[in-house]
Assembly symmetry: C2
Homo-oligomer: 260 residues x 2
């Protein structure tokens, strides 16, 4: 395990790197020079995704030369195990929003040691709000410490989801939406975690890669949310997951409804 | 028709009333004293909806004693015709967000004369951004004049919708979402118009009341968006509508797909 001193050092480094990434991203939103597609027409990657990931990777390699890095864009060097310090890097979470809206995207770094959560950082780039911390340090929005979550039932809260999964009723999301106050769709996992950390949504369900949920899980768990896979298997940080995060109370109802 | 001087006077009045409403709403988001349900469990009205509508109605009656007022909460006095000056008032658009999220809601006033658009104002309350104007004055975000919309095709843009309509595939919204870049769901018509005015979404489809679309239609049309009913009948300002607003280019594709 890491000492509090080591975690504080990681906190100082990761937050400064995310702030640097945001400062580079904001001026670029109106002149994105290169957009490529990945798996489909709307799975986008830009020159900015690649260059911000390189920036963050460079800082990590220089400061923690023995650490492994799991990055969204650098497929070649993805770790095969979770030994030691592992940094999960999502340079632009919500690239479609970045390209189409020039807003509503996040930069994220989640840090684990031997698979155990250490530190999470999510920058809501255009709002310049940095969410950071973990179970050892507590969770902060900039310099404001956030309260533990009220254990709100599903019926009294909004949930986040992805629109295709709602439309196809994956995980019974339609029924779950009717049991909740409703469904909101933002198009960025990072900003969905921001809703949770601020007590605005009670849950979020989506199929995600590890870099999408690594940072947010650490922050959400530290405030009392439960995380898991939809079907109940143990979450892995090495592969995509059908991912759910909810208040404990909402999670109970979700578990009854997801395969009902 | 109204003269530019008369419209400027309305602009000055309506914007100052919306700013006053916002200043009253923001401090109250964390202690909403009374929440009632209307048509269903998640159709909410609060003490704040009622008192802000009274505040705005009072200003309108004092300043324009001959005007008619179509307000969300005051059912008793809704106008039966569109003669003369008519003010459409939505004190809190997105009441569910107001109650559950303490964010993502708007206050709106749309002004028509003999059924013709005069002036629209939308306050994004928590962000303190006021969108105002019309065809005669142009459209502004606070003191920044907004550009006419780029005529983006559906395939290159995001659309807004309501989650239940997406889930039930009303208006063929699933297919339309797959033709677009995707669907976002915000839970406030006012904030959907804000996305359009900022060039972040190319369209919005929902079943709305006149006070939901009165202000936004004026602003969106002034920037080059098309508005209409989904099924092609003429929009009325006296009853609910299956409402669509899109760039002209996206609207062409929408018309082909909505009942395909």
């Amino acid at each position: 395990m890491m000492s509090k001193t080591e975690v504080l050092e990681i906190a100082g480094n990761v937050t400064s790197w995310l702030i640097e990434a945001g400062d580079k991203l904001r001026p670029g939103v109106n002149h994105i020079s290169k957009v490529d597609t990945k798996s489909s027409r709307n799975d986008l990657v830009t020159n900015e995704d690649v260059s911000i990931e390189k920036l963050l990777d460079g800082h990590i390699r220089q400061t923690y030369p023995d650490a492994q890095i799991m990055g969204e864009e650098n497929k070649a060097e993805r770790p095969q195990n979770l030994h030691g310090l592992v940094f999960f890097v999502d340079p632009i979470d919500g690239t479609l929003n970045f390209v189409r809206k020039h807003d509503c995207f996040a930069s994220m770094i989640g840090v684990y040691y031997d698979g155990e959560p250490v530190f999470g950082g999510i920058l809501d780039v255009m709002n310049k709000d940095l969410y950071w911390g973990g179970s050892l340090l507590g969770v902060y929005r900039n310099d404001v410490k956030l309260d533990a979550v009220a254990d709100c039932p599903l019926a009294d809260g909004l949930i986040g989801a992805s629109w295709r999964q709602l439309f196809t009723n994956r995980f019974n999301l339609g029924t779950i939406g009717y049991h909740a106050s409703g469904v909101r769709i933002l198009g960025s996992a990072g900003l969905e975690f921001v809703q949770l950390l601020n007590g605005r949504h009670v849950g979020y369900v989506s199929t995600l890669n590890p870099w999408d949920f690594a940072a947010g899980s650490i922050l959400a768990e530290a405030l009392g949310f439960e995380t898991g896979s939809v079907s109940g298997y143990r979450l892995s940080l090495l592969r995509p997951a059908d991912y759910v995060v909810m208040t404990p109370n909402a999670m109970k109802t979700f578990r009854k409804l997801a395969y009902a």
